[in-house]
Amino acid sequence: MKEELFKELSQAVIEGNKDRSIELTNKLLELGIDAKIILDHGLLPGMEVVGIRFRDNIIFVPQVLISARAMKSSLAILEPLLSKADLKGSGTIIMGTVKGDIHDIGKNIVSMMLRSSGFTVIDLGIDTKVEKFLDAIKNENADIVGMSALLTTTMGYMKVVVDRIKEEEINVKTMVGGAPISKAFAMEVGADGYAKNATDAVKLAKQLIGLESKETKIEQIS
């Protein structure tokens, strides 16, 4: 029965059925199942499917956002029950859309997928200046900083941030993404990695902190 419910919860997340997702989360808790197990066996596998379908163009932005909403509603129930150790998993990532750019859909999707994979994500929002990135990296003792841009007029700002990180010799990995971003661009600005979509961003983040071995498919820049 438990396994069935996990599967149904995953399905509710995939379909973006928020009410069902909340209902199943509560039901599993009533059965005495640990919050961390509900997260790992119900919610996260659902989000993983969402990520893959998004990557493969089976679903698009609106469907991902609807799934994210379902996931968030369930997570809100579980979060008070999760221990700090449960929440602090793979590593800490600072995320932000760079200065001058207000586009956050892509960044939000990547942030959510990273959270779903156990990363602690500090989202600095849109229009993020280099000082804000640096402060957050230091304050949170971050492992990775992820930058997003949609505009050709703002993507150059990624270099400003990467340069400052290098100048100040801060020990943090950098990854970049967004519609106009390419691997070649990422290399030019000196970032440690580029990911084409949210699913690859998760793999890349894991590689950057040594959690996953390098696959040829991933656009990590060595």
Partner: protein, 298 residues
């Protein structure tokens, strides 16, 4: 009849301009600065860009007002300057307009998500686009270009706001990308649905802009042409940008797109131009091709 529609109906293929954003950067717009504020602080730069495009052969230039809507300007604290920026944008283009050429008022997305996914209500979106469209009309543009749309609801609202609040013709394009599901916007809208939505909303010209370069644009126009009787617009990016010597450099040079522009013309466009990464040299090349195309038909 509106002079712009008259020109379009004459059977001539109209040549639009290339990019504004990437040209602005080349000419001193700092990274992250508000491009539309340049209409006030650096009017000569804007005029020079328009002038260069007219000299290169553009029949239409687009005003520097892509992000001059209340939602986007808010980022820079300029939300109350929509009218001022749009007026200035239209005046600057008009001040260098040769006889018989056209000024298009550029209108981009709000950058926000509509309810229920986001917080922007349909009514607010409508008001945001109306404010910009009215300001551009009062500033003296001949036509409105609603562009780089990806969400069907927002695209439709923008066209309706423009049609219902101005007397101007409306050219409406979306941005598509080729993936496993074919050509789609980030919202998953295919070319056929985009054409339907824009037609229902009352757009006079429909098409595509931005994206990943001229090859994809050829595919989009080939797909769109049999689906509609309306005139079609195509404004492709010059490929995908690379970062060389501190500048974003686009991979498709004027020489590269020269051959591809020919295919776009053959696919049946009525307005052709460029988007991000294209400059006056790209437009000059397309102009040569257009001239040859018409000579060969006479």
């Amino acid at each position: 009849m509106n002079k712009f529609l008259e020109a379009l109906n004459s059977g001539k293929i109209l040549l639009c301009d290339g990019a504004m954003g990437t040209e602005l950067q080349k000419r001193g717009l700092p990274t992250g600065a508000c491009p539309e504020e340049f209409n006030i602080s650096n009017p000569e730069v804007i005029k020079n860009i328009h002038r260069d495009y007219f000299i290169a052969g553009s029949d239409i230039v687009e005003t520097n007002s892509f992000g001059a809507n209340r939602a986007r300007l808010k980022l820079h604290g300029f939300e109350d300057r929509v009218k001022e920026f749009c007026f200035a944008a239209a005046h600057l283009a008009n001040s260098v307009r040769p006889n018989g050429k056209f000024i298009a008022g550029s209108m981009g997305p709000t950058g926000e998500l509509l309810e229920p996914l986001g917080t922007l209500s349909e009514k607010d979106a409508y008001n945001i686009f109306s404010e910009q469209a009215i300001a551009l009309e009062q500033g003296g543009v001949d036509v409105l270009f609603i562009e780089t749309m990806m969400a069907p609801e927002e695209a439709t609202i923008a066209v309706k706001a423009a049609k219902e609040n101005t007397k101007l013709p409306v050219v409406a394009s979306m941005t598509f990308e080729l993936g496993n599901a074919g050509l789609r916007t980030m919202w998953g809208i295919d070319v056929k649905t985009a054409a339907q939505k824009y037609t229902e909303a009352g757009a006079d010209v429909i098409g595509a802009n931005c994206g990943k370069g001229f090859d994809e644009m050829i595919a989009i126009i080939k797909e769109l042409r049999p689906l509609t009787d309306k005139p079609i617009i195509a404004q492709a990016n010059a490929g995908i940008p690379e970062w060389i010597h501190g500048m974003s450099v686009y991979t498709e040079t004027p020489e590269v797109i020269a051959s591809k522009a020919h295919e776009i013309i053959n696919a049946g466009v009525n307005i052709i131009g460029g988007c991000c990464g294209t400059g006056p040299e790209h437009i000059r090349k397309i102009k040569e091709i257009l001239d040859r195309y018409f000579e060969s038909r006479i």
